[in-house]
């Protein structure tokens, strides 16, 4: 393929260009021509097409996501908000924590192992880019039906990929979710979260300031992987003159990433960078245009200086390549020598590829010829914005007007069967098969991980300051009512942190939806964002950043609206945390919160093939009172255990508690069937010593939370009224599902 330069573009304005194959609409292509005053070169076209893709430009979601800023609650904790690589929160003692969640759904379906692995790698680099040392990861996952043949291909690959990459990096995996539903067949969700810690003064931003400063590329060499992976309509015909057809799969090398982490942290510590950006989706196109646009001036890059793994790559391909484990830094010239020295020590390839200019253009050359000359903001931040049509889908009224009709167990035999059925249900069954492939304790700071309510890590070994994180989504509720579904997921994630005694501080989110071109899906999305923004405002929790993943569908079938909400909280002394279960007999068990007949969207309804009715309505002021109660109780060291109730209701909650330390419980319920199966939000089981009942009663009345004594701990069975389920039987049901399905 001959080189398409700016000069050639000017002299051949009528050349046909494959913009449609690159995913650009005719009006978007026309706009690029208008911006440039000529046709784009093929390199410029490549850049615009990837940067203006849904994935990078948020063109369909932007108008809605604004609400996270507009409705943002006042928070002193927020140090860096939305817009940077990841948000940063103040957790006290001079520490700042950064966390973010991102999707890697489509690549993980094509090639499960590498797709999931590079998903972990990407989010870890985002956190590193903020100047933080990554300290833990989490992975909320969603798959097609557990017994579907393709799930047997996809799930083990994805789990192995997450484990393989994360374990090699030496990062503990402290939680996540595994959920099955037929809408995810053909479109699994792989969301990856990473959390990192730093001192306030160490925060780094993605900007290229100071004319004359150097643009330095370091990390792995650039190869032909993932070209167009970021573009929804990645073209197979692009660059037909090139060598082999390029795969849209990236392969990562965790050991290179580990070295890159250590090398970068050493470079940060010596304050050798002005700005920094990792190379993820859209590779160099993204990094150069975002750095230039985040700074004050322009940038000049000599693309031919980029070290290549495959010398046959064309400039267009180099710009689009998503080769993993690469970073781009802005370095003052007098610090370059030291920068190179550190890279040499870590054996990291490093090359100065350009410099910051005082102009306002991003200029890229190839062997001296100008192939890109664009205003960087038009590539990075001023892409198209769509106010897509939306309409409440017809199914909403239809499902909301129906009542859930599922059998409710009454007799002792029926109750036992129901508890065992839920314990063994793939969505609720023991996930050790998955989590035992992850290293949960490496670095020695993990306090909680699966199956605890939240993941918790210590960040200071002297003061025992720690952070807790939980990610939650209930797609069934979001399907019935996306507005409430988002609020309920937020409340659940916050509650999951508070049960351990950590105070919720900030929110991240990964919004997984079908095609934004479907007005029904767009409505689900808009309602979700509105719900989450309202919920965050009411609960006083700022959204620090997140990710939107559209086009999650198989043919015309969209996935359930799946907003995964991550909440991060802080605990002053991890040694005081409240565990999720009791490890002694003779404790009293209480239920905090009120149980209604909330079967719509419940696991019990799901098991009976019912997805109808109305989702519960989130009562966030009650949720906040419950959180305050939990924190006050934790402060008094009142609780021997506290466990959140969510999917699977009281039945699942009790199952998890009694199996944790093999201590049974005797439970007495008035209408056991409903009380066991209902998934009313805002409920927590607590265990306390008998003598401390009055303190709990006082706390509950002070915070206006309903308190019900439901039983006591002890024995080797879970006994509910007359129904006796031995722990062995319960354990077999709970732990054999995954090994049976996945070997």
């Amino acid at each position: 393929m001959s080189l398409d330069t700016v000069a050639i573009a000017q002299s051949t304005p009528d050349n046909k260009q494959p913009f449609a194959e690159l995913g650009l609409k005719p009006d978007e292509y026309a706009r690029i021509k208008e911006i440039l005053g000529r046709r784009p070169t093929s390199s410029e076209l490549a850049m615009y097409s990837v940067m203006w893709s849904e994935h990078c430009s948020y063109k369909s979601s932007k108008v809605h996501l604004k609400q996270f800023g507009d409705k943002a609650p006042k928070s002193d904790a927020l140090l860096v908000g939305i817009g940077e690589n990841a948000g940063v929160v103040d957790v006290g003692q001079g520490y700042a924590v950064t966390f973010k969640i991102e999707s890697h759904n489509h690549p993980s379906f094509v090639e499960p192992y590498q797709g999931a692995a590079t998903g972990v790698g990407g989010i870890v680099r985002d956190i590193l880019t903020m100047g933080a040392r990554p300290i833990a990861v989490m992975d909320p996952l969603r798959f097609g039906p557990a017994d579907a043949p393709d799930t047997r291909r996809v799930l083990p690959g994805i789990v192995a990929g997450i484990g393989g990459y994360g374990n090699c990096l030496g990062l503990p995996n402290i939680g996540g979710e595994v959920v099955f539903d037929e809408t995810y067949a053909g479109n699994p969700l792989v969301n990856a979260l990473c959390v990192g810690v730093m001192k306030h003064s160490d925060i780094k931003l993605a900007k290229a300031a100071g004319a004359g400063n150097l643009v330095v590329l370091f990390g792995a060499k650039t190869g032909g992987d993932g070209i167009g992976g970021v573009s929804v309509l990645a073209s197979e015909t692009f660059g037909t003159g090139g060598s082999t057809k390029r795969p849209s799969v990236q392969v990562g090398d965790p050991f290179v990433e580990k070295i890159l982490i250590e090398c970068s942290l050493e470079i940060f510590a010596e304050e050798l960078v002005v700005g920094i950006q990792d190379l993820g989706g859209a590779g160099l196109s993204c990094a150069t245009s975002e750095l230039a646009s985040g700074g004050s001036g322009g940038m000049k890059v000599a693309l031919d200086k980029v070290p290549l793994r495959d010398p046959s790559l064309s400039p267009e391909e180099i710009l689009m390549s998503e080769s993993q484990e690469r970073m781009c830094a802005i370095v003052e010239p007098h610090k370059l020598a030291r920068f190179l020295e550190i890279c040499k020590k870590w054996d990291v390839t490093v090359t100065a590829i350009g410099e910051v200019t005082d102009g306002d253009r991003l200029e890229i050359t190839w062997n001296g010829e100008i192939i890109v000359d664009v205003p960087p903001r038009t590539v990075a931040h001023e892409g198209p914005v769509y106010n897509r049509p939306m309409e409440q889908p017809a199914y909403i009224n239809e499902v909301n007007s129906q009542k859930v009709s599922v059998p409710i167990p009454h007799t002792a035999t029926e109750i036992k069967a129901a508890v065992l059925k839920l314990a063994a249900a793939p969505n609720l069954a023991d996930k050790s098969w998955v989590t035992s492939q992850y290293d949960k304790y490496v670095q020695g700071n993990t306090i909680q991980s699966q199956p605890d309510d939240s993941g918790m890590v210590r960040i200071d070994e002297k003061t025992h300051l720690g952070v807790a994180i939980s990610t939650d989504a209930n797609a069934n509720w979001s399907y019935l009512n996306p507005y409430q579904g988002a609020k309920l997921a937020l409340a659940e994630a916050a509650r999951n942190i508070a049960t351990a005694g950590a105070r919720p501080l900030a929110v991240t989110n990964c919004l997984n939806f079908g095609s934004p071109e479907d007005p029904g899906v767009m409505w689900q999305f808009a309602e979700t964002v509105r719900g989450l923004a309202d919920g965050c405002l009411e609960m006083g929790l700022p959204v620090t950043g997140g990710n939107v993943s559209f086009y999650n569908q198989t043919g015309a079938i969209a996935i359930l609206p799946t907003p995964v909400i991550g909440v991060l909280g802080v605990i002053q002394d991890v040694r005081t945390r409240t565990p999720m279960s009791f490890n002694s007999a003779g404790l009293d068990l209480y239920l905090l919160g009120q149980t209604h007949e909330d079967l719509a969207g419940s696991e019990w309804a799901f098991l009976h093939g019912e997805r109808v009715g109305q989702s519960p309505t989130a009562d966030l002021s009650a949720e906040m009172r419950l959180i305050e109660l939990l924190l006050a109780g934790h402060g008094m060291q009142l609780f021997s255990a506290a466990h959140d109730l969510s999917q699977g209701g009281l039945s699942a909650g009790l199952t998890e508690m009694v199996l944790r330390h093999s201590i049974g419980a005797r439970i007495v319920l008035k209408s056991a069937g409903i009380e066991l199966l209902s998934e009313s939000p805002g409920r927590v089981i607590v265990a306390i010593e008998t003598g401390r009942a009055q303190s709990l009663v006082d706390l509950a009345s002070e915070h206006q939370i309903m308190l019900t004594k439901i039983g006591s701990t002890g024995g080797d069975s879970l006994t509910i009224n007359e129904s006796v389920i031995s722990l062995n039987e319960l354990r077999t049901a709970h732990t054999s599902t995954f090994p049976k399905l996945f070997g």
Binding site: V110, E111, Q114, A220, G223, G224, D225, T244, R246, P247, V249, Q250, V251, G252, D253, F255, V256, R309, D310, S323, Q324, D347
Partner: protein
Amino acid sequence: MATIVVEVMLKPEILDPQGNAVASALPRLGFTFATSVRQGKRFEIEIDGEPTAAQLLEVEKAAEVLLSNPVIETYVVRVEK
């Protein structure tokens, strides 16, 4: 008796961390000849008698389904005497 050999290699544009590790270990041990190393795997499949065209087709199929990951790897099937 014949041996059917299936050789599986990562596609040329796919990153090969194992090959890279070997390439960087060679000079440390004093071997300076290599500019690049790619690592693959080799299967030796024994069959009775001379392989028929139909059998080779079956092996091709197995290579596609089980022995290689066609998303990132290529394979070659041949008969070794």
